[in-house]
């Protein structure tokens, strides 16, 4: 019942989203006596009742969070009966169809009711959704779902082929019509019949041929403001990156430090004489790690990692936070500073490898390339 509106505490019959971390989650309908097994241990439904949404639930080997089922969370957790629409397209549809509380919406096909749940959230409590699907089982599942989610009074599900038989609604009552059909142009005349003056329509089609035909039919039927758009979500990965600094043979003591405002020494290279130049309390922009391999036979190979400061005046430069993924921050001070007193000559014996550590917002290597084209139009009188 939690879909009806925000609530603070979990009750029997509510759907909750059990969140385990890193996009790993699943929906649960809270029922007395039931238990769900997760990789962190068992989650007893009875233990959830009375908890606040958002609470942390301890399990045998860890913990999970129980979240309130927003339509966006439901979309990524619902049982698929068909290919569904995701939040990106849904958001655009909601805005472009001007959905709001009180809107009357006509939708076909219902599919897995992903968009339906989202629209119901927006048009509640005074709106209504008439949703149609020609697949009997999907109609059944959707009806059952809306019932269990406490949304039944906001929606009417009908088993109907709207392309052949229209919507069967007597009046022009819809503020908005949404079509996700293989041949939407067949349903467009019926859509026109059910739309209020000034009403909005959207047709979602994966193929451009469908789009062309739909747009033509819309224009012929008198729709205006016809607009076809596409919107894709790009997830961006925020992480600390380390890339090696090139060795151009200028010498082991010299290292270019990116983002430094001065290029005053040695033709643009910043000179690092020894690790004593490193100080922990000076702010840095990006910073460079130096690994030096001491090829001293007695001590064997040992690596020193140390943070190299931008040696020029960075008091004006903004701070970035230290990357948490970089280890050995503390160890830097504990490193045996055998070479601290060494001058450049001694450094020559050591191979200095430097790397640049920075925070990056990297788009994922692969992103969704296409879901479908969204065609919007208005029916003005």
């Amino acid at each position: 019942m939690s879909f009806k509106g925000y609530k603070e505490r979990i009750e029997y019959g509510d759907t909750v989203i059990v969140y385990m971390g890193f996009e790993s989650m699943f929906p649960v309908e809270v029922e007395s006596g039931k238990v769900h097994q997760t990789k962190y241990g068992a989650v007893k439904h009875d233990a959830l009742v009375g908890l606040r949404f958002g609470s942390r639930v301890k399990c045998a080997k860890g913990f999970v969070h129980v979240l309130y089922p927003t339509p966006e969370l439901w979309t990524v957790n619902l049982p698929h009966r068909t290919q569904i629409l995701y939040a990106t397209d849904i958001s655009l549809i909601t805005l472009q169809l001007e959905l709001k509380p009180g809107s009357i919406v006509v939708e076909s096909g219902t599919g897995s009711a992903s968009l339906s749940h989202s629209m119901l959230r927006t048009i509640a409590p005074s709106g209504h959704l008439y949703t149609f699907d020609f697949h009997a089982l999907r109609v059944e599942k959707a009806t059952d779902e809306f019932q269990r989610h406490g949304l039944a009074d906001l929606v009417t599900v009908m088993h109907r082929d709207v392309c052949k038989d229209g919507f069967g609604l007597n009046n022009t009552i819809a503020d908005a019509v949404f079509l996700d059909l293989p041949s939407p142009w067949e349903a467009l005349p019926f859509a026109k019949g059910v739309l209020m003056p000034g009403g909005r329509i959207c047709s979602f089609s994966p193929c451009v041929e469908q789009v062309q035909r739909s747009c033509k039919t819309m224009a012929d039927l008198g729709f205006t403001e016809i607009r076809t758009i596409e919107c894709l979500l790009r997830p961006i990965d925020v992480r600390s990156m380390t890339i090696p600094m090139p060795d151009l043979g200028y010498g082991p003591g010299k290292c270019y430090v990116p983002n430094s405002s001065s290029s005053n020494q040695d033709g643009g290279l910043l000179c690092v004489k020894s690790e004593s130049d490193i100080s922990e309390d000076k702010p840095v922009l990006g910073y460079v790690e130096i690994e030096s391999q001491n090829k001293d036979k007695h001590q064997g190979e040992h690596r020193k990692k140390a943070k190299l400061n931008v040696l020029d005046d960075v008091s004006k430069n903004p701070k970035i936070e230290n990357s948490r993924e970089v280890e050995d921050d503390n160890k830097a001070e504990n490193i045996e500073m055998d070479d601290r007193n060494a001058d450049s000559n001694q450094m020559n014996d050591n191979k200095i490898e430097a790397s640049y550590v920075f925070k990056s917002g990297l788009p994922a290597l692969r992103m969704p390339g296409h879901t479908g084209y969204l065609t919007f139009a208005t029916l003005y009188p």
Partner: protein, 470 residues
């Protein structure tokens, strides 16, 4: 919906859009033309009008544009035309600019002018059908000014703002606004905190989806909130507007938090300061330590005593406020009542009025403050020119758990910082940074392709869900 007097309407001509208030007989400037809007009254929104002698006359836009291309779909031209012999030169059009202008001044209709242009074009016949259509469309746009009157709504207003002055709305593109509204789960009866520098567009779009039930608390900068989109855009009724509350952003520090969250707020304040050094010391991997140092104090106190202390503190504050009000009222009482001159009496009345207003404002402020301090808000939306991290960290205390935080920025770097800081608090899950790729298509028979220009960026969105670790 019918257009009526004093409505705010959105005028559209080709790609230009402008919001004006419909006042009869008052002229409006748009696209270097002067319009009197009387002709639009009583018509449906969405109607189109052509400018004839300064007045607007209704036309049937669909017929006017002749968009339907039945002809060329069936007709296979016997001679397939192409542009191999077409040379683009000024002399192709025999009418000079002056001649065209004089035709216009004579009052010749746009259609007639276009007819003349076509007749006097040496290349027109040689063009392909598509090319001829394109030519005529172009001339129509120039010589027959047609204005469409649209109803201001989020859908139309965001388009207008984005085209006219995207900097006024932090480059918030339509699809980004759409994402904000759904990701923040904006719905009837929700109570949301909004910090924005988008001319009130974000506030308006939220109010539209609350439809009179719920609350938007606008945290504003400056001496008073400025929301041009509400003042000259949305035609919101009083019922819708009563959901809107305002609170000054620079008084966020004075908001009372329950003692548990006090540490987080004081440290959030520290982080909010420009030259923080803390993130680079030893506890750098555990930024959460910085924000919530040490253990919670609730170990020693019981829940009830904590709540009591909180209540007591609040009562004290209310008392102080009452006293403040008393002082204000008594001050005006002390003003000299017995003056004979009408001037002074009027002045006294003015002072009284002002004092009353001031009291009302203070009352309202206190009410809004209490609303926030209840800490049962359903979401936070940030779409402002300021760095979002201190805003988010300071306001997270006032949200219920399992509620969305949505932050928009035209730049990715501040959001990356916010991402890292939020992760460190341990008070949110599902932190995501995204942007959307957006493209429009021209769909015409045999001429379907993406539009020649497209938006390069609509800004970035950071979303997260609050949790509680109790």
């Amino acid at each position: 919906m019918l257009i009526k007097e004093s409505d705010f309407v959105l005028l559209k001509k080709d790609e230009n859009m402008k919001v004006v208030q419909f006042v009869s007989h008052k002229s409006v400037n748009m696209c270097k033309m002067k319009l009197i809007l009387n002709g639009i009254s009583g018509h449906h929104y969405g109607s189109s009008f052509r400018l004839q002698n300064g007045q607007l006359e209704k036309i049937d836009f669909k017929e006017f544009l002749l968009e339907s291309d039945d002809k060329d779909e069936n007709a296979e031209s016997s001679e397939a035309k192409d542009n191999r012999s077409l040379v683009d030169k000024r002399e192709n059009q025999k009418l000079s600019r002056d001649e065209i202008n004089s035709l216009r001044k004579q009052g010749v209709t746009g259609e007639a002018i276009i007819e003349q242009l076509v007749e006097n074009s040496s290349t027109f016949e040689k063009k392909t059908d598509f090319s001829q259509k394109k030519y005529i469309q172009k001339k129509k746009k120039k010589h027959i000014p047609v204005f469409t009157v649209l109803r201001p709504s989020t859908r139309t207003l965001v388009e207008m703002y984005y085209r006219r002055g995207p900097t006024k709305i932090c480059n918030l593109r339509m699809d980004s606004l759409a994402q904000i509204l759904t990701q923040a789960n904006v719905r009837s009866s929700a109570k949301l905190l909004v910090v924005e520098s988008c001319s009130g567009l974000v506030i308006g779009s939220v109010l539209e989806r609350l439809a009179g039930d719920g609350a938007v608390i606008h945290l504003y900068t400056g001496s008073a909130p400025t929301r041009p989109a509400l003042d000259e855009g949305y035609n919101f009724s009083q019922e819708f507007l009563q959901c809107l509350h305002s609170f000054p952003l620079d008084q966020v520090s004075s908001l009372m938090r329950s003692s548990k969250a006090e540490e987080s707020s004081s440290n959030a304040k520290r982080l909010a300061e420009p030259n923080i050094q803390c993130s680079l010391d030893n506890s750098s991997d555990k930024v959460s330590d910085v924000i919530i140092p040490g253990e919670y104090r609730n170990n020693s106190e019981s829940e009830t005593t904590k709540l009591e202390t909180f209540k007591a503190e609040k009562e004290e504050m209310l008392m102080d406020h009452e006293n403040l009000l008393q002082k204000e009222t008594s001050r005006s009482d002390e003003a000299p009542p017995k003056d004979v001159k009408g001037n002074l009496k009027r002045k006294f009345e003015d002072i009284e009025k002002r004092e009353k207003k001031k009291q009302e404002r203070l009352n309202q402020l206190q009410k809004t403050k209490s609303m926030i301090e209840m800490a049962d808000l359903d979401g936070l939306i940030v779409a402002s020119k300021f760095h979002p991290t201190p805003i988010v960290l300071s306001l997270i205390d006032f949200l219920l758990p399992s509620r969305p935080i949505v932050v928009f920025s035209p730049y990715i770097e501040p959001l990356m910082d916010c991402y890292a800081k939020l992760r460190g608090t341990g008070r949110v899950v599902m932190i995501k940074l995204t942007d959307t790729w957006f493209r429009e298509y021209q769909v015409l028979t045999n001429r379907t392709h993406p539009t020649i220009n497209m938006s390069g960026s609509g800004g970035y969105l950071l979303t997260a869900m609050t949790v509680t670790n109790d």
